[in-house]
Every structure is written in structure tokens, then in C-alpha cells.
């Protein structure tokens, strides 16, 4: 089975990247690829609980990620330092994630070979 990393590095609102990453994950999942979703830098903000963007006339982007398990997307990895720098821990996130350090994330890139950046 082909493997691919979807890498999110931007904050969720104000630009299309997070929503497009989500759409891409859904699209790839249909082809039963082995997907690993990696959150780094401001990308970790996509998973914060209790997002309420009603006044921005948007849907909470964080709510979609737990649903991806229904599409057999099961591997979600969050960079430890990106979380710590932003005052977040795994408890603050909308789903259970694998917390990884920089070297471990590099290993994931190495294993999966293909990285789609958002």
C-alpha cells in the first residue's frame, strides 16, 4: 500500500490551507492509502478543543479530524515542541494523537517518503 504524510503547519482560520488539507485527506483516504497526518508549528492549533468560529461564519475545523477515523485515517502525530511552545498538551486536543519529537517526525518522513505540505 502506498504511504503518504499530510503535513499541516499553519493556523486553521483566515486561509484555506487547513480546510484544503482536510479535503485532501478525505480524497486520499478513498484510495485506501496509508495516511499519516502530522501537525507542526501553528498547525497544532487546528486540533484545539472548543473552537467556535460561528461569528466568522465558519464551521469549527477541529471537529472534522476525529471523524477521519471512519475513513480509516488512524495516524495523527503532533510535534511535542510545537505544542509546548503554544502552551498546549495532548489533553487540549480534539482527538488522541501520537506525540513525537523532531527526530521521530523526521523518521516518519523517511518511512512514508511522500509528504504533502499545507
Amino acid at each position: 500500500m502506498d504511504k503518504v504524510v499530510v503535513l499541516l503547519r499553519k493556523a486553521p482560520y483566515g486561509r484555506v490551507y487547513t480546510a484544503e488539507a482536510f479535503r485532501t485527506i478525505m480524497g486520499i483516504a478513498v484510495f485506501e492509502l496509508d495516511i499519516c497526518v502530522v501537525f507542526m508549528d501553528d498547525g497544532v492549533f487546528a486540533l484545539v478543543k472548543n473552537q467556535d468560529p460561528e461569528k466568522l461564519d465558519m464551521k469549527p475545523l477541529g471537529d472534522g479530524f476525529p471523524m477521519l477515523k471512519d475513513f480509516n485515517v488512524n495516524r495523527f502525530v503532533v510535534h511535542d515542541k510545537s505544542m509546548a511552545d503554544r502552551g498546549l498538551s495532548a489533553d487540549n486536543l480534539v482527538l488522541d494523537v501520537e506525540v513525537a519529537n523532531s527526530a521521530q517526525i523526521a523518521e516518519i518522513f523517511d518511512t512514508y517518503k511522500k509528504v504533502l505540505p499545507f
Binding site: 493556523a11 486553521p12 482560520y13 483566515g14 508549528d41 484545539v48 473552537q51 467556535d52 468560529p53 502552551g87
Partner: protein, 99 residues
Amino acid sequence: MLYTINNASIGTNNLESLSQVCPKNSPILFFEDGVYACKSNTALADKVLVLLEDHPVYALLEDVKARGIEPLIEGVKTVDYSGFVELVEGHDVVPWLRN
């Protein structure tokens, strides 16, 4: 002058450059992704605490709620859209914009 800042991502120097320019007592309003800087316990929190010593600091409530940011740094006041408009009515604006 009212300084408005829409982005202060860690790894950029947008907040630092604003701090260098913004005169004492000028109000600073964080909006859009800029509100992340007002979250407590982040790598930026110390920089915002320094700003609070010399400036009224505001965060736009709608952007704070959208992003699930809590708790805010103590001393940062939230304003809603109408409060934003009032601030803009009362001041000329220096937009510290970063895309």
C-alpha cells in the same frame, strides 16, 4: 495611534518589530491569528507581558472564541466587533499586517 496586529506567529518577528516601534501608552489590538499571542503559557507570553506594562492590550473576542484560545494572559482585555469599531473611531490606526 492604535496599533493592530493580525499575526504574531512563533518564529516570525512581527510582535518584536511592533514592540520596537509602538510608543508607550499606545493601545494594541490583536486580531485574526494575532490573538494566539494572547494565550497564556506560550513562548510569546513573556513578550506580551512586557507590552502590558506600557500599553492597553486588547484581543478581538470573536477571533479568540473561534480559535478556542484559553486562558488569555491576565491583563489582556477582550473587545467584540463593536468594541473594535469604537477603538478605530477613537484613534488613527497603524496596521501591523503580516500575511
